[in-house]
Amino acid sequence: MKMNKLLQVTAMVFLMILIFVSGARAADWKPSKPIEFVAPFAPGGGSDVLARSIASIIEGEKLCPVPLLVVNKAGGSGLVGTTAVAQQKGDPHVLLTYIPGQAQAALVAGKGAPTFRDLTLICGLALDEQLIVVKADSRFKTIQDIIAEAKKRPAELTVGGTGAGQDDQICQRVFERSAGIRFRYIPFKSGGECITALLGGHVDMIWANPPEFVPQWEAKMVRPVAVAKLTRMSEFPDVPTLKEIGHTVTYFFYRGIVTPQGIPAEAAAFYENMFKRLAESSAWKEKYLTKYMLSPGWMGSKEFAKVVAQNEEESKEILKDLGLLK
């Protein structure tokens, strides 16, 4: 009993000190030491590229008084890195890249996995695109060919993707339901393995982001047949959206930034402002968006929180449909 009291008192005192300290610094928060910038995926992947591009552009444009040090904490569909950041509660010198896959993986993994509620959402920076890609010599000329064939042979056409219960499988389920068809989903570990399986003719089609297939597309080895977006992409003006052919399959593949929970509100505001200036810079457009073919997608913290929550809600329903969630 006594111990309990003592603990409570200590906790209260500690909390008060915390509030006092953060209050004292409130007026004008600035990072006081180098910031650890966690990319929860392996070097070379989309999240790693984002983190490293941000770090170098922020340095070049002098947007932050201290350097951002990119650290890869890969594994478990991004959950290892996400967990590491979520556990550093109250530390304002940690940033993490965030994509829908991390939220979805947490849903499927269940107990112990950190959801977006365990983090402070700072902002959304860009939107990635999901396309359906076939081999250049595929018998499917258009997406309509694929739908017709899938209707004839239900659940026989194979589609490669990266990671079950995530973006592309969710996207695919929405498409399947709308078109009244079924595919076989074949999960691979990375975009590289996926395109390799397509080139080898081991799967009929794949889901891919532009950087994953553009080199082979330029060499006329593969071609995209549809994009899961509301409007066509300027890089592929001839590739129809799934919406055009009557299936409202749009997918919001955001790429954003989060920090641990419990950081001072001023620190959150500092980062939001810093990333806003980043997103408005011309270097951002040239060295990131254009180079890796992403769409601009600035979202402030409030809007980003709404999008993340909505995305999780929609994913939940589809994951249940896929039998990955109870």
Partner: protein
């Protein structure tokens, strides 16, 4: 003729002063990164990538390639000297290399590794130059069924360890496979054997296990038997540092076989240099006239995997250059580099940027010569280190292993895991369980399981997919023969005896 022309273009680029310096920086850096267990080539290159923004892409790529193949040379050092593999691709070198060091032949082990790597690497470059596009296209025929059949064959080769106690080999392999299943399942996304620890969602990294089972377990054993832990005692003569003629004769075919296996495995996307070194070791033991010496300091056991890992790291460029697909984590980072420099990798590269392709390939010759010289000249310096009292070397082992385990994911949890595996490794040694099968289970477990499930998803559940494709069928047949080989040998023996008896 065209080839010579290309080579001329290549060397005229690679031999400029600037590029030689970049190559030298790359291989030195690779050598250092190779020595540090937790940091691999992908991390090192990712760190340097932003610095190369304004550098000529060819020079940057020459440097990165230098890191990539330099790493395999560096990892050998710690494998041989302190039984902690600096890289996953040098694990097999620990097995016989460290035993050689205990017998005072550390210098020979390091020389044969450097010479073998150089020879196999150089031959690999020539083959890469001549056949890259064709081979890369052929390698595409490897899909999930072929990968599964390949791993099944590799496990079959483990029967060479079966000698006296096959049941222990089987248990050790199963343990490796079991550990490999920890983490999120690729097919369903659900955690397996994570027991609610989110830190385990990513599985347990290979390096963490190896640092514990080899390095720290070694320290435990030597605490128990202090005299046995003594390394090279008393005098060290200069000629002890290099290969003897007998050792060279013993290892030359191992270098050739290792180099060929390495080249072939490296060219397959997802083949990987670690797998290459394993297969080379197992095949060498199979081919050897005295397999019982393996594990007790057989020089072929160092020559084969070392030649294989270097030759695989070079042939691994074929998928990247010819098709633009990454065959390994390192080439995946280089692919990101291409994007950053505004160059599109892939099939067009040979036409659009011949300077880059041929400059890179030519630089590999130079890099390998540099590495050979660096390593041969530094061997005495490293071997002298072994004259330190073992108590001090133990300290080094603990520091290296702990830092290595930590830096894999910058997570302290991994250091605890490593200590746990050290205890497991110690117990296995005590009870005379072979450790190599466990390590092979770890390396191939994920590839084997994922490709089995992918293949069955593609075929809709039918196993015929493994028998109707020629490459897969070939591997399956070899695998079955390998699994049955102890039985066949036993049956033959019995037959001979019954024939002899009546007479």
């Amino acid at each position: 003729m065209e080839l010579l022309n290309n080579l001329y273009t290549g060397f005229s680029i690679a031999l400029t002063f600037n590029n030689i310096i970049y190559c030298l920086v790359g291989v030195l850096f690779g050598q250092i990164v190779g020595v540090l267990p937790g940091i691999g080539a992908p991390t090192a290159i990712a760190l340097l990538l932003p610095l190369t923004y304004s550098v000529n892409p060819t020079s940057a790529l020459i440097m990165f390639a230098g890191i990539y193949y330099g790493v395999a040379y560096g990892g050998t050092l710690t494998s041989v000297l302190i039984n902690v593999p600096g890289e996953s691709s040098t694990v097999m070198t620990c097995v016989d290399g460290y035993q050689m060091a205990l017998k005072g032949r550390a210098g020979a082990a390091l020389s044969v590794a450097a010479i073998g790597s150089f020879i196999a690497g150089t031959v690999s470059i020539i083959l890469l130059m001549a056949f890259a596009p064709a081979l890369a296209k052929f390698a595409l025929r490897f899909g999930p069924p072929e990968y599964f059949a390949l791993t099944a064959m590799a496990f079959g080769l483990l029967t060479v360890f079966g000698g006296e106690q096959p049941i222990k080999t089987i248990i050790s392999t199963m343990l490796g496979l079991l550990i490999a299943t920890i983490g999120l399942d690729v097919v369903s996304g659900m955690p397996r054997f994570a027991f609610g620890f989110p830190q385990l969602f990513g599985g347990i990294d290979f390096i963490v296990i190896i640092c514990g089972m080899f390095g720290i377990a070694e320290v435990f054993s030597s605490i128990e038997e202090p005299e046995e832990g003594e390394l090279v005692k008393s005098k060290l003569r200069l000629r002890d540092l290099f290969l003897t003629w007998e050792e060279w004769i013993a290892s030359r075919w191992a270098i050739v076989r290792g180099g060929i296996i390495g080249f072939l495995v490296g060219i397959i996307p997802a083949g990987g240099i670690t797998t290459a070194s394993f297969l080379a070791y197992l095949a060498e033991k199979r081919a050897s006239k005295h397999p019982e010496l393996f594990g007790h300091g057989a020089i072929e056991g160092v020559a084969a995997p070392e030649s294989a890992n270097n030759s695989a790291s070079i042939s691994g460029f074929a998928p990247l250059l010819a098709l633009g697909v990454p065959g390994s984590p390192t080439t995946a980072v280089m692919l990101a580099g291409f994007m950053m420099w505004g160059i599109r990798p892939g099939p067009m590269l040979f036409k659009t940027n011949p300077d880059l392709v041929w400059g890179l390939i030519s630089s590999m010759y130079i890099g390998n010569v540099l590495l050979l010289l660096i390593n041969i000249f530094l061997i005495p310096a490293f071997v002298v280190m072994l004259r330190l009292p073992y108590t001090i070397i133990m300290g080094f082992i603990i520091v290296f292993a702990s830092v290595g385990a930590y830096s894999v994911n910058n997570n302290f949890f991994d250091v605890w895991l490593m200590l746990g595996f050290a205890v497991l490794g110690y117990l296995m040694r005590k009870l005379q369980y072979p450790i190599v099968p466990l390590v092979l289970g770890l390396v191939l477990g994920n590839l084997s399981e994922n490709s089995l499930r992918q293949a069955l998803l593609i075929s809709g559940g039918s196993f015929s997919i493994f028998f109707t494709r020629p490459i897969s069928l070939l591997f399956v047949v070899v695998a079955i023969l390998a699994y049955l080989s102890p039985v066949i040998r036993w049956a033959l023996k019995g037959l001979r005896q019954t024939k002899v008896d009546p007479a």
